[in-house]
């Protein structure tokens, strides 16, 4: 894993799990791989060998542990995530509005929604989802205990959250599957998560199982392109420093056409909704048509079966 300076280069086994097994070029001083050519591939089932059955990468956990204390500082390293959060709601609103009418009767106000937020981090999205009047409950899970501690302590600052928001130290694999409480969610979200998990295919499969028929799986991530390497790794982390160093591992990025293909091959999923967004310094996040091919994008897909 070429993420933390304290880890020595080369410990991470170079995997052959993906069909396009790309060599990681000689590690440079910044311990960052140079991008290989960003061709299309299927979603990897494993980014590197690991004995655990979890999708969670331990070094990812330690990276985010280091970020825990500043998670809620609006002018700290997570500012860019805070700024993106309203767009997540706009995107979900758009997905829900495009829902096929199988489940909801048209005229009455829709019933309040149950959310499962996977990889909730400090709770930026989970808190905001719980505050919406259209939400009945949010279950938010993350495998990083120190971040969950931050999330829980921050939620105590808002009296409106305690009745609607519940944090669990869990992964999608360890969340009890038998318990109805953890099943049939209206919205399962994993924002800026798939690029951090080791086995995205299995991860998405398991997230999808928690969506009720008629519900939505929504996620956001970054396309694996030369542009995204330049903007997220080089410019954002190294040059501008607006994203903490070591946050992104470009090699793990997944393209939207790969996600489309992934859900296209599976039974019971509708036509995905995809929106590309671009961060413009000074202006914030903006929706830009076509940018899903080159950078950050939202991806939502309805479970129809």
């Amino acid at each position: 894993m070429l993420r933390h300076a304290r880890q020595s280069v080369g410990i991470r086994p170079i995997t052959t799990g993906s069909p396009l097994s790309r060599p990681i070029l000689a590690a440079r001083r910044d311990h960052r791989p140079l991008p290989a050519s960003p061709g299309r591939r299927t979603i990897p089932t494993r980014h590197h060998s690991s004995s655990s059955s979890s999708s969670v990468n331990p070094s990812e956990v330690s990276h985010f542990t280091a970020l825990a204390s500043t998670w809620w500082d609006p002018h700290g390293p997570s500012r860019i995530l805070h700024l993106m959060n309203p767009l997540r709601h706009d995107f979900i609103t758009r997905c829900l509005a495009s829902s096929s009418s199988s489940s909801s009767s048209s005229s009455r106000t829709p019933p309040p929604l149950r959310y499962l937020d996977v990889g909730c981090g400090g709770g930026i999205f989970a808190e905001s989802a719980a505050r919406l009047p259209t939400t009945s409950s949010v279950i938010a899970i993350d495998p990083t205990p120190s971040i969950l501690a931050v999330a829980r302590s921050h939620a105590r600052r808002d009296p409106s959250l305690s009745s609607k928001l519940e944090y669990l130290d869990a992964t999608i694999e360890t969340l009890p599957a038998s318990d109805e409480k953890y099943q049939n969610f209206d919205v399962v979200s994993c924002f800026e998560v798939v690029e951090h998990v080791d086995n995205p295919a299995a991860f998405l499969e398991r997230c999808g199982q928690r969506v009720r028929p008629g519900g939505w799986l929504v996620l956001s991530t970054i396309a694996r392109t030369w542009t995204s390497w330049l903007t997220t790794n080089f410019v954002a982390e190294d040059l501008l420093g607006i994203v903490p160093k070591g946050t992104h591992d470009w090699d793990k990025y997944i393209n939207e056409d790969e996600l489309r293909a992934f859900f296209g091959k599976r039974e019971g999923w509708g036509v995905p909704v995809v929106v590309g967004v671009v961060y413009v310094p000074g202006l914030g996040w903006k929706e830009v048509k076509g940018s899903e091919k080159v950078g950050n994008y939202f991806f939502g897909v309805q479970r129809v079966g």
Binding site: D90, R131, S153, R157, P159, S162
Partner: protein, 492 residues
């Protein structure tokens, strides 16, 4: 759900009508030995029940996205007196404001405008502004190209009490505001930490008598000496003009040169400051005269006949004659009559002659410019005079406050609909960026105008006259100024 249902049930109750309820609450609180209960927690606590605070709460209650919020109003005065404010049709309060069409549009959108006594509101259609030293003049009217939304109306003269009374009626109709009026804020501090909650960042307003209100967002609509601003540690910088604004309700010889349908606002720049006469219904007008504290003291001391003559002089005689009249402790009426005969002027280009002043309406207040360093803090926002105090020469003070409120409500609406905590600085940032520069420019322009026209002689006088004449002959530039005054111009 239960809390929401209860929230809905809380209707507008003024404090005097709910003493019983309060007594019960007080007893209940004792059981918690001084700590706050869930009932004391509000989404928005607004300190100050003036035009800005009342329209903020009205807008929040009228907006479907924000109407579920728990809101409270803290006000020092007895609001029931303002709510039932009523004057005979031939009497007008001396505190009037010019409401721009965009302020009126906003008040209409929140359902308040129709609650104002409409026959006490006076639209005007023309402005006459001239230089008292050089006589250079500019006339503003919409001419052949009226404003699409408001027709030929430039702005609306209205008593501040008519506005606050109308807003209170609308608030009563909407319900759902916990009103603490005749209330004294003893102290503003922060909440506490318990096992369940951490409210150490939540501002807590302690009222005399022991009531406390915890605020997700504390709004300071509490005027130029805002206690909320002090609590937030936000400084307001600026200066005093060394001038006082003298106000009075005047009676004229008629309804104005254009009759009731074509009312004109007049403003003359004198070296001591601008003097303005703004139309009210019928043969009434309101005076705003910015002048030295000494002159203001003299004006307030004069008998009605002399006061009236000095006001008439202010729009007609030369600055030199005016200076002389101000040195006299009485006898202005005689002096005015004599001097007028020897002063050539166009009768129809100045306001009709003042024939009376309503008893008890001559008053004055010091003029200052203040601008807060910021309008927001963590869980704090400032609106209206708490954020900025402007020179009254352009009649923009109250309108700026309405603009603040409109922007803050939009910001809160966005935060609520996107699940943000509406009190955090991050959520409030759009309000600051939308309003700060716009207000700063307007404060600066009015300040420069004041300074420009405070000069009685020298090279600046012909230059500013040239400027005024030039603006007058350039239609596009004039429409720009008119749109600015109407509050619907280019956002600067």
């Amino acid at each position: 759900m239960e809390s929401i249902a209860r929230r809905r049930a809380v209707a507008y109750v003024c404090r005097s009508c709910s003493r019983q309820g309060l007594r019960l609450q007080r007893q209940a609180r004792r059981a918690y030995s001084g700590t706050a209960t869930r009932d004391d927690i509000y989404d928005v606590v607004c300190v100050g029940g003036g035009p800005a605070g009342l329209s903020l709460l009205t807008a929040l209650r009228a907006n479907p996205t924000t109407s579920h919020l728990r809101v409270a109003l803290v006000e020092a005065q007895d609001l029931s007196k303002i709510r039932s404010w009523k004057l005979p049709p031939n009497q007008f309060s001396n505190r009037c404001s010019s409401l721009t069409p965009s302020s009126v549009l906003f008040l209409d959108q929140i359902g308040a405008w129709s609650h104002l006594e409409q026959d006490r509101v006076q639209p005007y259609h023309e402005m006459q502004v001239w230089d008292g030293v050089s006589g250079a003049r500019i006339e503003f009217d919409w001419g052949p190209n009226p404003n699409p939304s408001t027709g030929t109306t430039i702005a609306y003269m209205n008593e501040n009490l008519n506005l606050t009374s109308g807003l209170l009626k609308r608030l009563e109709e909407l319900g759902g505001v916990s009103v603490f009026d005749s209330a004294r804020v003893e102290h503003i501090g922060f909440g506490e930490q318990t096992d369940e909650l951490d409210l150490r960042e939540w501002p807590t307003v302690h009222l005399a008598g022991g009531k406390q209100l915890l605020a997700r967002l504390l709004v300071g609509a509490d005027g130029a000496n805002s206690p909320v601003r002090s609590f937030a540690g936000i400084e307001a910088k600026g200066w005093d003009y060394g001038r006082h604004g003298v106000v009075a309700t005047l009676e004229l010889e008629g309804e104005g040169w254009g009759g009731d349908q074509m009312k004109v606002a007049y403003q003359r720049f004198l070296p001591t400051g601008p003097v303005a006469m703004l139309p009210l219904p019928g043969n009434h007008a309101t005076l705003v005269w910015s002048t030295t504290p000494e002159n203001a003291a003299l004006l307030k001391s004069l008998p009605a006949e002399d006061f009236i003559s000095l006001v008439n002089s202010a729009f007609r005689l030369s600055p030199t004659d005016l200076d002389f009249l101000h040195t006299q402790s009485s006898g202005q009426a005689e002096e005015y009559k004599w001097r007028l005969e020897h002063t050539p002027f166009d009768r129809q280009s100045v306001p009709q002659t003042v024939v009376g002043v309503q008893t008890g309406t001559v008053a004055s207040f010091p003029l200052k410019l203040r601008h807060a360093d910021t309008y927001i803090g963590e869980r704090v926002a400032l609106v209206g005079d708490a954020a900025h105090t402007i020179h009254p020469l352009a009649g923009q003070g109250l309108n700026q406050g309405q603009g603040d409120v409109q922007s803050l409500v939009k910001t809160i609406d966005y935060a609520v609909s996107h699940g943000q905590d509406l009190g955090t600085r991050m959520s409030l940032e759009p309000y600051l960026s939308e309003r700060y520069t716009a207000n700063h420019v307007l404060l600066g322009v009015c300040d420069k105008l004041h300074k420009l026209y405070s000069v009685g002689s020298g090279p600046l006088v012909p230059l500013r006259s040239l400027g005024l004449n030039l603006v007058n002959s350039l239609t596009p530039l004039k429409s720009f100024f008119m749109n600015q005054a109407a509050g619907n111009g280019v956002k600067i």
